[in-house]
């Protein structure tokens, strides 16, 4: 309690500093003063800064309550509107409404946000239900839903081709106010929410015994879960509609109150809103004070995003639950193929066929066509370049994913999931902002360096637990969240370099020049050769570090080499085609489902599958909305995410 009071005091002091810099205390208006009689600076205080402070407190309280409810229902200390994808769902709905149906926003931003948040929550819960709401699986599903929603939202923003100010501000979660309506809306939501949460506290205590135990005591488990979850989703949608994407407050608040000694569900539910209010208020006041003293004016959501990643990592050791055996799709080993190399051969033929078909087929102003003879001379080199770039990038990502999956013995490991792509994005952004007029080589180095660095940091952290799959995955997702937050802050800065960053994030195979495509192709071949050289290691490593050491492998050094290699391969691929998602995860999965379990055929098949997937994605991106090229990353995500959900859904119940 003392800590909370101290933090609140600090927040008030910072806010006061910002307010006094703008307007001396002696000039502050009296609460009952008529707005028409006030000077502009006084109105600013009364209708700008003051409501902003209140909104920060209320939004923080709502998010804290929402997170506490989610954590109580799912019995998962990692649940919160951000990690469950609910916030991103609301964001996507608002972005889509702004672009496709602006009039709907006039009906109420809250309703639009609720549709998105509800859809995302339903999707994640459907996945979670299949896995008995295993914390890690639910969190991973939620963050995947979040990634998908964010990818579609980015693509929609980009497909507008012009700068959408309100979206960009919104992405960052700005608490700026111009009246008391925002505070009023949030306050009206908070009071009934607290009462409902109070009513739900006792049933949730019963639920904390576990579903079966609670049912035995006569609790209507399904109904309690549904009510609490619905309340949490509504609260998060209300906040999203009012102030935008403010991440991780719902994660932090319950964690803080638990650390401060809240034991029962009721205590957590009632004190988490307070902690959330203090946390968000402190963040916002600090940013206001920085801006008032002449610093940059950053959106508050960007700051909470920054603390979210490290927080997730800090919370990981408290996570008792691990991935339950068999909870992930790849654990059900498919039957080994009788003649693996023949399958690899068929795969190679299919990949080449895909390349040839997409080389000659396309879409023009007149519709779908096979290439005309007189245009072949101009079109074929263009298409060949794009196809080579896409295929090579896919192969590199797939190799990286295959190596990581073998290395960690974890079928969910992939460059995207492990935050390597996020690291590569940060590297690209760093080069854009630090180097004046960077060339392609610098950008490639930045991307590859960022990728390798984030993977390296990740393994340093996770190595202590001998790369336990759950820790690794969540730490990776945390890095991804951190990257997303930084990128959102950059977008909100409205710098033209942010425009080129957005363009890169959209990714396009057409951006490759013959030289760079060729280089990427060579790199892909090198990666294949290198991974085959390492095939023996990759055969042994999944058996566990003890066995590997017993067989005389220098495990630590091998891990370092493989991790660096995977990071570099991912970085090299992303510099050309943008941070493409899911190919690195999907391709090895498909290879395994073909029964290719030995390392060498598995690696070659992953390589081929990655290339084929990207060829298909590049073709779709090029033709679907001709002449407007869709982002390659979006298309890969659109193919990959539903497939991944289907895989997760199939799962154990058969």
């Amino acid at each position: 309690m003392k800590l909370a009071a101290a933090a609140l005091l600090m927040s008030v002091a910072l806010w006061g500093l910002a307010a006094v810099v703008a307007l001396p205390l002696s000039d502050w208006p009296l609460p009952w003063a008529d707005p028409l009689s006030l000077r502009p600076q006084q109105i600013l205080l009364a209708y700008g800064q003051l409501p902003r402070a209140v909104v920060a407190l209320l939004a923080g309280a709502l998010l804290g309550l929402s997170g506490a409810l989610m954590q109580a229902v799912l019995r998962n200390p990692l649940a919160d509107p951000t990690t469950l994808g609910v916030s991103s769902g609301a964001q996507l709905a608002l972005v889509a409404a702004t672009i496709l149906w602006p009039a709907s926003l006039d009906l109420g931003r809250g309703a639009v946000a609720l549709v998105g948040a509800g859809t995302a929550a339903c999707l994640v819960m459907a996945l979670g239900a299949r896995r008995g709401f295993a914390p890690v699986t639910v969190t991973i599903a939620g963050m995947l839903v979040g990634m998908l929603a964010a990818a579609i939202a980015t693509a929609l923003t980009l497909s507008q081709g012009y700068y959408l100010l309100s979206l960009v501000i919104w992405n960052g979660g700005a608490l700026t106010q111009e009246g008391w309506s925002g505070g009023l809306h949030l306050g009206l939501a908070l009071i009934p929410a607290l009462l409902l949460a109070g009513a739900l506290a006792r049933p949730l205590v019963v639920l904390s015994l576990g579903g079966a135990g609670a049912a035995a005591l006569g609790a209507r488990v399904g109904l309690i879960r549904l009510a609490a979850m619905a309340l949490a989703v509504v609260l998060s949608a209300v906040v999203s509609a009012e102030v935008g994407l403010v991440g991780f407050v719902g994660l932090a608040a319950p964690a803080i109150v638990r650390r401060l000694g809240a034991r029962t569900v009721g205590q957590v539910l009632m004190s988490a809103p307070l902690a959330g209010a203090v946390v968000l208020s402190l963040c916002d006041s600090a940013l206001m004070a920085v801006a008032a003293l002449g610093g940059p004016d950053l959106p508050t959501g960007a700051l909470t995003g920054l603390i979210g990643g490290p927080l997730l990592i800090a919370l990981l050791p408290k996570l008792r639950a691990i991935v339950p055996p068999g909870a992930e799709a790849g654990d059900t080993a498919p039957r080994r193929a009788p003649s693996p190399w023949r399958r690899v051969g068929v795969l190679a033929v299919l990949t080449i066929a895909a390349a040839v078909v997409t080389l000659v087929a396309g879409r023009g102003p007149g519709g779908w066509t096979v290439i005309r003879g007189d245009l072949a001379a101009t079109f074929l080199p263009l298409r060949a370049t794009a196809i080579l770039a896409a295929a090579a990038a896919g192969a590199l990502l797939a190799t990286s994913g295959a190596v990581l999956q073998r290395l960690t013995a974890n079928p969910m490991a992939a460059p995207e999931v492990l935050g390597v792509t996020g690291g590569a994005s940060l590297g690209y952004a760093a080069v854009i902002f630090l180097v004046p007029e960077p060339g392609p080589v610098m950008l490639a180095l930045g991307c590859a360096g960022g990728g390798a660095l984030s993977l390296g940091l990740l393994s340093v952290h996770a190595m202590r637990a001998d790369l336990a799959p759950a820790r690794l995955l969540l730490a990776g997702l945390a890095i991804g969240a951190l990257a997303t937050a930084v990128l959102a802050a950059i977008m909100a800065s409205a710098d033209p370099r942010a425009w080129s960053l957005l363009g890169w994030m959209a990714g396009s195979a057409a951006r490759a020049t013959p030289g760079s495509a060729m280089l990427l192709g060579v790199l892909a071949l090198v990666a294949l050769a290198a991974s085959l050289v390492a095939a023996r290691w990759l055969e042994i490593l999944p058996l566990g570090p003890e066995i590997a050491r017993g067989l005389g492998l220098p495990v630590a050094r091998i891990r370092l080499v493989l991790i660096l290699g995977a990071g570099l391969a991912t970085g090299a691929a992303s510099v050309l085609v943008g941070p493409v998602s899911f190919v690195g995860l999907m391709a090895p999965h498909i290879a395994r489902s073909l029964g290719l379990l030995r390392a060498a055929p598995f690696l070659v098949a992953s390589w081929l599958t990655g290339a084929a997937l990207m060829i298909a994605a590049a073709f779709g991106a090029r033709t679907l909305s001709y002449p407007y090229d869709l982002p390659l990353g979006l298309f890969a995500t659109l193919i990959g995410a539903p497939w991944l959900f289907a895989t997760l859904l199939r799962g154990r119940r058969r």
């Binding site: 106010q177 111009e178 002449p627």
Partner: protein, 291 residues
């Protein structure tokens, strides 16, 4: 093929006759086929009498441009990622681009020579550059006379507008676009629209930096720093934002709003060329005269 040539010659002839009043030289020297990635360069080309055969993001441009975008102009896709196949289909002689799209120049050069001008550079006024571009592009196309004539015409009209504005420039003007109900983008001195105010001899209320974006998104409350200024809102205001503003105490308390010194203009092409600048200049002067 003859049909295409005839039409092209016909269009070129008409355009030249319009702008330079000269003889129909297009038959002797067929007009260049231009493809524009940059909207500012598209308007520049149209201004000197050469309508490009293709432009990027044609749909949106047709909504906001100060010049006509005929139905015959092909769409090249996104400005940041133009469709190279669509570009090669129109077989351009020259691709008009700008420093904005510098990162795709290598790809464009695979199809046709690229003519790029740095119209928008952080901290530098774009309007003089767009006016110069009229002449340089015309010279590049071998029609320097048309460029000189057109620039002289536009400068003359801007001068006339500036004379009319001289008696109206009693207050600074905050030129802005409204993003959402809580943020606005200010057009600073290094924006095309900001340059129009300078050219008209009006003073721009926003003298701070523009964070390289030519427009700085700032909280609505910052407008309170300019109690004496006029507010000129460029472009359409979304319905939801309009309703939110109507009920906003802060907005309604702004001195300019209280005193009715807010003007709404339809201009929505801040990255256009000289025609867009000229259109804004006309609108601003007309709005001030009506006030």
């Amino acid at each position: 093929m003859t049909g295409v040539l005839t039409r092209r010659a016909f269009v070129g002839c008409g355009a030249l006759a319009l702008w330079s009043g000269g003889a129909c030289r297009a038959f002797a020297q067929p007009q260049a086929r231009l493809a524009a990635i940059d909207w500012g360069m598209y308007e520049t080309a149209v201004a000197i009498g050469v309508t490009p055969v293709a432009v990027a993001e044609r749909i949106r441009l047709a909504q906001v441009s100060a010049v006509r975008v005929p139905g015959s102009v092909a769409d090249l896709g996104l400005r940041g990622a133009p469709n190279l196949e669509a570009l090669s289909l129109v077989a351009p002689d020259l691709v008009l681009s700008s420093n904005f799209y510098g990162f795709i120049t290598p790809q464009l050069e695979r199809i046709a020579p690229v003519y790029a001008r740095d119209l928008f550079v952080a901290g530098e006024a774009p309007l003089p550059k767009t006016l110069v571009a009229l002449e340089t592009l015309a010279a590049q196309l071998g029609m320097a006379d048309a460029g000189r004539t057109r620039r002289a015409g536009i400068e003359a009209e801007l001068d006339a507008l500036a004379r009319r504005a001289a008696s109206l420039g009693d207050r600074a003007i905050c030129l802005l676009a409204i993003g959402d109900a809580r943020h606005v983008q200010m057009f600073g001195a290094d924006s095309l629209y900001g340059g129009v105010l300078t050219r008209l001899g009006l003073s721009n209320g926003w003298s701070e930096g523009t964070r390289f974006a030519f427009t700085a998104p700032v909280p609505l409350a910052r407008l309170a720093d300019f109690p004496d200024a006029r507010i000129v809102v460029c472009g359409a205001v979304p319905v939801a934002v309009r309703h939110a503003l109507a009920g906003s105490v802060l907005w309604n308390s702004l001195p300019a709003v209280r005193a009715g010194r807010v003007h709404f203009l339809p201009d929505e092409n801040p990255f256009g060329g000289a025609p867009s600048a000229l259109r804004l200049a006309r609108h601003v002067v007309a709005a001030l005269e009506a006030a």
